[in-house]
């Protein structure tokens, strides 16, 4: 009796009651996921290869028209290349600014560490609109940087907004928390005693860093870079607001085709391309992870 009761709570044994109950408890979440996730995404994939009348209605036939358009128009190739290159630059910058923060957080303790963690994670939960707005206040012609430069005697403002520079700066900052959290999780594997041993044996700090800290944090770097790249290539709020309609990236094009031009099949095709880039990034990540063991 008691053994059966325990197994019912812990579910460690394959007892009779648990499986149907578990399935029942999972019904609501399954319904939400099927209606709100599986159905729309499947429909999106189908739409990108469907024949569509000019009214927007599907004829029921298949068509590769949008894929052909995207493959033959150099505009879309340039769009893809711009997006990938910009996202790579943003990833490298984010890693460079985030690494010292993560290492510092890893080494700090107690209340101070917790306060710093709040400062890292709060921006993550703050709307991208707010943070992009903050960047407008810093980078615009009447913003903090340019007003400062003018006060120092500059004759005209430096263009930091409505171009790729602004978008890169803004997105780098917006994606930092993801990178820091990934790095921090990776640094968790680092046993401080190994560092201490190296230092005790006479290794200078930079060598401890290059030979021990850096190699051990590689998995965190890989994960953080994957996350940042993937988020950079798919974000459009910041490119829209800081780019001011003058920066064309894959994600902003998806949005414009969907909401302005109302060419949903083309938007669907472009968004599938975003997913394909995701797939490539994920595959690369897997290979890198295997090679660093």
């Amino acid at each position: 009796m008691t053994a059966a009761a325990i197994s019912k709570v812990s579910g460690r044994d394959a007892d009779f009651g648990a499986a149907p109950i578990a399935l029942m408890l999972l019904v609501p979440i399954t319904i939400v996921n099927l209606i709100g996730f599986v159905l729309p995404v499947a429909n999106l994939a189908i739409l990108s290869v469907s024949e569509v009348r000019s009214s927007g209605a599907m004829t029921g036939g298949w068509s590769m028209a949008k894929w052909l358009l995207v493959a033959t128009d150099p505009f879309y190739w340039e769009l893809l290349w711009n997006s990938v290159r910009t996202s790579l630059v943003i990833t490298a910058l984010t890693l460079a600014v985030s690494y010292p923060i993560a290492l510092y957080l890893h080494r700090s303790t107690g209340l101070w560490r917790n306060a710093l963690l709040v400062m890292v994670i709060s921006p993550l939960l703050l709307s991208a609109v707010v943070r992009t707005y903050g960047w407008i206040a810093i980078l615009s012609d009447q913003g903090l940087v340019n007003q400062g430069l003018m006060a120092l005697g500059a004759s005209e403002p430096v263009r930091l907004m409505f171009n790729l520079t602004g978008v890169t700066i803004g997105l780098t900052e917006i994606l930092m928390p993801y990178m820091i959290v990934a790095l921090l999780a990776g640094l968790g594997r680092l046993d401080p005693r190994v560092e201490e041993a190296a230092a005790t044996l006479g290794a200078p700090p930079w060598r401890v860093f290059v030979r021990i800290v850096l190699p051990l944090s590689l998995p965190g770097i890989a994960l953080g870079s994957l996350l940042t790249f993937v988020l950079a290539i798919s974000s459009f709020i910041t490119p829209k607001l800081l780019g001011g309609g003058r920066v064309f990236l894959l994600a902003t094009e998806v949005y414009d085709q969907a909401m302005v031009t109302l060419d949903w099949p083309l938007a669907a095709t472009l968004s599938i391309i975003v997913l394909l880039v995701f797939g490539v990034a994920l595959a690369l990540y897997g290979r890198i992870l295997r090679s660093i063991g």
Partner: protein, 264 residues
């Protein structure tokens, strides 16, 4: 290990990094007290006019109220759906539980621009575009993965011994859940609830796709405002949002711990 000195170079680099990270959040605070008509920094005069302007902006107020209602409804339904699911996955450990967890958290992996477009197309056919119902479903889909994961994490770290003891003493599974498991899950539920409230309240991409001229959320209204006008109004709204976010982060930290929730 507690007393390990941190090199001054690392301290400086980390300080610069933190300054960069917090710069856009820090700048909206003084900007919100600007007395100017246009956005300029530093402002030449100071006032509370932009806070007063929020109260006079009917669209912003309506969007704020809708966001509040939406986030509340989304959070409540989230807990009703996620608590049983987390219990089933963690405690009843059905075969293929890991795969199911992957499936249920998959909406998080999909870029929101793709998910937003996918929902736009399906919801427009169902006549759900720019309706509270459509907005609700969209928000439910993206908040559930957070709620499920946080509650599952909280549940898996709870000592199972107490539940086993109650069962050994003759409590039925339902009683064990109601009297033992559920009360122990309260901190996890508070953390998950605040998180889903915040994610829903701040969500902008899906909301942009789902909104219409007569229905928008606060972040969508802010986005539209920033796109069309450069005045300090959004700074004042932002300050309120920052305070709001900080409160929620502290609640998550107090109830479950930030490190446990975000750094796994």
């Amino acid at each position: 290990m507690d007393e390990r000195p941190i090199s001054p170079i690392l301290k400086i680099l980390a300080a610069v990094g933190f300054l960069f990270l917090l710069a856009p959040v820090l700048i909206v605070v003084p900007l919100s007290f600007s007395g100017e008509v246009f956005m300029a920094f530093p402002p030449e005069s100071w006032s509370l006019r932009w806070y007063a302007a929020i109260a006079e902006n009917e669209k912003m107020l309506a969007a704020f109220l809708f966001s509040l209602k939406l986030a509340t409804a989304v959070t409540a339904v989230n807990l009703f759906v996620a608590v049983p699911a987390a219990y089933a996955l963690v405690r009843l450990a059905p075969r293929g539980g890991d795969a199911m967890m992957g499936f249920f958290t998959a909406p998080l992996l999909l870029p929101s621009i793709v998910l937003g477009l996918a929902m736009l197309i399906v919801f427009s056919r169902a006549g759900l575009l720019a309706t509270p119902q459509g907005m609700f479903v969209a928000h439910l889909v993206v908040t559930l993965p957070y709620t499920l994961r946080v509650i599952a994490t909280a549940l898996s770290t709870l000592p199972i011994a107490v539940e086993e003891a109650a069962a050994t003493l003759g409590a039925s599974p339902v009683t064990v859940f109601r009297r033992v498991t559920l009360p122990m899950m309260v901190p996890g539920m508070i953390a998950a609830g605040s998180l889903s409230f915040l994610v829903s309240f701040d969500e902008v991409v899906l909301s942009l796709f789902m909104s219409g001229p007569r229905l928008s959320t606060l972040p969508v209204e802010m986005y539209n405002h920033v796109e069309n006008r450069a005045d300090p109004l959004v700074a004042a709204v932002s300050v309120l949002l920052v305070v709001f976010t900080l409160v929620a982060v502290v609640v998550v930290d107090r109830s479950l711990g930030l490190a446990k929730t975000f750094v796994r």
